[in-house]
Every structure is written in C-alpha cells, then in structure tokens.
C-alpha cells in the first residue's frame, strides 16, 4: 500500500486551525490606507470649515437672541443671523457627504479585486474567502460609520440655533428638526446613511465587478433610497397626530392641513371662496407684509369663531429622537442585509 510509505499527515493539516481574524486588520489597513486617509483628510478639512462657519453662526445667534425685540439695531442682528451661511441652511449640499464617502470606499472593495484579477490571489490564500471578505467589510464599515458619526456630532452642533424654541417670536429662522435636508444632519442618521451607502457600494462592486460603474450604481440607488425615505417613508414611522388647535408649535412637522365646518370637510375651491369673502369683509386694504400677516391671523380667528375648524396632521417635535432611532435602525438592518448578501455572493461565486 502506498499509503504506508507516505509520511503520516499531522491531524491539524486535515482540519487546520483557521487563520485568526485579527490578522485581517493589518491587511485591510495596508490595502485601503489611501482610501481611509483620503476619507480622514476630506472629513477633517470639512470639519474645520464647518467649525469656523458654526462659530460665526452661533455668535450671530447669541447676539440676535440677546437683543430685546423691536429695535432697529436688533432687526439688523436678526437679519445677520438669518443670512449667515445661507447656502448651508437647508442642508442640501452636505447630503452628498454620506453617499460620496460610503460609495467611494465601499464600491472598490470587491470591484477592484475583480477588475484587476487580484481576487485569484486573495481567494486562494489559507484564510479563505469568507473570513477575508467578512473581516474586510466589517472593519471598513466600522471605520466609515464611526467617522461619519463624529462628523454628525459636529453637524448637529452647527444646526442647533435653528431649532431653538422661541426663535419665531424673535423673528429668527426656526425650523422643525424634521426639515427634510436637516433631519439626517445628526450623528445617528448621518452615520447610518453613510453605512448604507458603503454597503450598497460593496454589493454593487460584487455584482458589477467594475469600480466606476459600481460607484455610479451605488450613487443612483442611494439617491433613490434617500428620496423614498425623506419623501414617503419618514412621515409614517409613527402614526401622525391630528389637532384642531390652530396654534401648532413651529417644531412640529406639518404633514397636511384642512378645514371643516359642521363635520364636513371643505374643498379647496370652497375654502378659497370663504377666505376671499372674509378678507374683503374684515381687512379690505392691506399695505405691506406685516399687515398682511396680521390680517391673515384675524381671518383665522374670525373663521374659528364662526364654526370653522382648521385641522392639522403632524408629527410633534418631541418625536425627533424616536424618529432618529427608527431611521438609524432600519438603515442599519438594511446595511447588515446588504453586507450579508455580499459575503454570500463572494462565497458562492464561481469564477
């Protein structure tokens, strides 16, 4: 028997102890250090810029809020605050940070290996491809999520003045924290969106196998998801409240409003007729903006006294944190599923 002449194989060779997970840390760092250093540099520069802009904004706010309302000098300070860094006020520009950082780091993880053929090296090493990809994705996901979370802390500090209660009374900008562009400018959601972009990029890279198309696909999917979340899903996280009280706080997210009289809902055209005739009746002449606002309030009061009710469907400002965690939670779940799908595809992919 030839088997007898062969040296006995040590038992551990037949079922070798796996290569330790921790070794993937150094491998991941060496392979992705340029991307990670780029991420750190980008977020670092933006953080310094945002901090300087934030100091200016907070300073303007403190000055305006401390000034007794009404004086001309105060009006100037109010205008200064309302106009400070106007391009950042709606948060639209900063929306690109999660998707850019996430997709640019996530998409190449597999796409570059498949594009250049190095997967034939990586997947035939002793560690095995399951450990290899799982460790890599988890480490990189943690890195992008933590850095996005830290940046999110800075963002929520920056936008604080806009959400302070009582701003409206002072004539200062006051926004609901649910404002579409600002809702995810907070640590939980900012980090969760970045993670989702990373996971989308990783899966796109595995499916498309080329870096640039994978990044483009991740951007497109992310944009769709962000619009769906902001435009459709978010208002349904918890059942909205409905109130007949016309004084809804400025922190509330108003979803819809309608009028009723005697239990019947007024149609848009009826409502316009009622408004127009009431205006003619109690405020026929309006000269400027502030008179117009005053007239509008008078009309509302008049209508309320005469049996009309304005109904508001809204999410109260107190639900801000539950909403943050709900959105963070489903994005985290989605990201875990996307990463699991990527790992599964890597394991079963036949070259």
């Amino acid at each position: 028997m030839t088997a007898l002449t062969m040296p006995a194989q040590p038992e551990e060779d037949a079922s070798p102890r796996p290569v330790p997970w921790r070794r993937m840390a150094g491998v991941t760092w060496r392979q992705h250090r340029f991307a990670l250093a780029g991420l750190a540099a980008l977020l670092g520069v933006l953080a310094v810029a945002l901090w300087l802009a934030g100091l200016q904004l907070h300073h303007a706010y403190a000055a305006a809020a401390a000034c007794p309302a009404g004086s001309l000098a105060c009006a100037d300070l109010v205008n200064t605050f309302n106009g400070t860094n106007g391009f950042l006020a709606n948060g639209v520009i900063l929306q690109v940070i999660p998707v850019l950082t996430g997709a640019f780091i996530g998409a190449p993880v597999l796409a570059r290996e498949l594009e250049t053929g190095t997967y034939r090296y990586a997947w035939t090493q002793g560690i095995g491809r399951r450990r290899w990809i799982l460790a890599k994705l988890v480490l990189l996901a943690a890195a992008v999520t933590v850095s996005a979370g830290l940046f999110g802390l800075l963002l929520s500090w920056y936008y604080q003045p806009y959400f302070a209660t009582g701003n409206q009374g002072l004539g200062l900008s006051e926004m609901t924290p649910f404002f579409p562009g600002l809702f995810d400018m907070h640590p939980v959601t900012f980090a969760a969106w970045t993670l989702a972009a990373f996971a989308t990029g990783a899966l796109a890279g595995m499916l498309i196998r080329r870096v640039v198309p994978a990044i483009a696909a991740a951007l497109a999917v992310y944009a769709g998801l962000a619009f769906a979340a902001g435009g459709i899903l978010r208002e349904h996280y918890l059942t909205p409240l409905v109130t007949g009280n016309p004084n809804v706080p400025a922190s509330a997210w108003i979803l819809s409003q309608w009028w009723t009289k005697g239990g019947a809902t007024l149609s848009q055209s009826t409502l316009r007729q009622v408004f127009d005739s009431t205006f003619q009746q109690i405020a026929p002449v309006v000269n400027n903006g502030s008179q117009k606002t005053q007239a509008y309030y008078n009309v509302l009061q008049y209508l309320t006294k005469h049996g009309y009710t304005q109904w508001t469907r809204y999410q109260p400002g107190s639900r801000f944190w539950p909403f943050q965690w709900i959105e963070g939670g489903w994005l985290l779940t989605l990201s875990v599923l996307l990463i699991a799908a990527t790992v599964w595809l890597v394991r079963r992919r036949a070259a």
Binding site: T2, A3, M6, Q9, D13, A14, S15, P16, R17, P18, V19, R23, M24, G26, V27, R30, Q31, F34, T116, G117, T118, R120, Y121, A122, W123, T124, Q125, G126, I127, G128, W132, R348, A350, A351
Partner: protein
C-alpha cells in the same frame, strides 16, 4: 496520495462546456504539466482544483481527498494565477506582510532571502517591478507558504526567455529539494521538456492523454514531450477540429 482526483468533472459557462467528463488522478511527487491548445480548458481545470470555480458536474478533490476550496485544501495549496496578479500599489514588503497574514504558515526568512538573491527591492511597489520580477515575487510568496502542492497557471507565457528559464529553475528546485508537487499549465511546450515528469494533454474540454512522461514516450514511441503532444493532436484531427 493523489494531489488531484477528478471524477466526471465538468464546468459549463452558459451553454458551452469548458471542461467535460474529466476523470483524472495525478499522483503526488511530480511536476505535472497540463498542456493543450488555447481554450482547451486548462485554466478551468486549475480554477476548479484551487476552488475559484465550482463544478457544474462531477467532483474534484485535492491533497488526498480534501474538497477543492475547503480550508484544509487552501491551507496546503499555493496558486499563482495567470498574469501573476499582485496588488500593484503595495510594496514588495507589504505583499510579504499581506501573504504572511493571510496564511497559517509563512517562511519569511526564505521569502526575504530569495528576493534579495533576485535583486528585488523590498520597498519598490510591486506594480513597478518588471514582468519577470513580478512573476518571481508571486512565485516566492507562493513557495514561502510552504505548500504541498504548487499550482501555476500559464506561469511563463508573458516572460522573456531568460526570465522563463529562471522561473522554471526555481520551480524545479522547489520540486526536487523540498518535495513540493507541482501542477502547471502551459501552451508553450518547449519550456516543459526539462521539468515535467507527468503529462496531462487536454483539448476541447476533454482529457486526451495522461500519464508519466517516460511511460507515455515509450508507449507512443516519441523522442520528446513536444513531439508526443503534437503528433497526438495531429493524429486525432476530429477531436481538435475548429
């Protein structure tokens, strides 16, 4: 022990069979050459053996019955793929670090000594090495894993004659001095003459000949491996038509 055992192994890409009904046993202790024209299914067979591809039919085991691609199989096999893929942006030292980290065994002194001998600087990015140096680096990393089976896919196709000679000399040293079994594919026959002791001839996705070179030469009354392969392919034109 057989380093590779395939039974009715087949691989289909779409509707085309790249490999069909492949039944094969390659014993350990050889430098086994897998030869055949382009598109014969050589890379497919090697990819199946190292676990990069999954069979569409049949089965393949390595190193005495281990499932191809299993942890035990990956642990004992080092594979150098076609065009010797390396991380081009990593330095030679980083490639050593990465390969050492990804494997249970890695003979770092051997790797460093061999690279020094070849004059390959550790600090240079692997993408800036010459083609021959890249092939040597990939081979050194593979051998430093102290594998029991070394699998090479078209290792010298892109190399000039001197680099080719040096590369094959390293492979032969590993096989004769360290007892590593080698399976290498090539469509260039001349370079195999000195090194191969076992031959598998593949054409159009099927095994046409397999056996020890000296037995095959005696049986078919040919003087060299090249003549044997050529005459076999010429005398069976129906099988290699198209």
């Amino acid at each position: 022990m057989n380093i590779i055992e395939a039974s009715a192994l087949g691989k289909r890409y779409g509707s085309t069979w790249a490999l069909r009904e492949c039944t094969l046993e390659i014993p350990a202790g050889h430098v086994a050459a897998l030869v055949g024209p382009n598109g014969a299914g050589k890379s497919t067979l090697l990819n199946l053996a190292v676990g990069l591809a999954a069979p569409s039919a049949g089965a393949v085991t390595v190193l005495g019955g281990r499932a191809a691609g299993s942890p035990a199989a990956l642990d004992g096999i080092a594979f150098v793929a076609q065009d010797t893929p390396l991380y081009k942006t990593l330095s030679v030292a980083d490639m050593i670090y990465v390969t050492r980290s990804l494997n249970r065994r890695f003979d770092q002194p051997y790797a460093r000594a061999r690279l020094a001998e070849l004059g390959i600087p550790l600090k240079r990015r692997s993408g800036r090495l010459s083609g021959g140096q890249q092939a040597q680096l990939a081979l050194t990393l593979a051998l430093a894993r102290r594998p029991r089976l070394l699998v090479l896919d078209e290792p010298v196709a892109m190399l000039d004659p001197v680099a080719r000679h040096d590369f094959m000399a390293t492979v032969l040293t590993a096989a004769t001095d360290d007892g590593v079994s080698v399976l290498l594919s090539s469509h260039v026959l001349t370079e195999l003459e000195r090194v191969a002791s076992y031959l598998i001839l593949l054409s159009r996705g099927q095994v046409r000949l397999a056996g020890e070179v000296k037995d095959l030469l005696a049986t078919h009354r040919q003087a060299s491996l090249e003549e044997l392969a050529l005459s076999y392919l010429r005398n069976n034109p129906t099988e290699v038509a198209k």
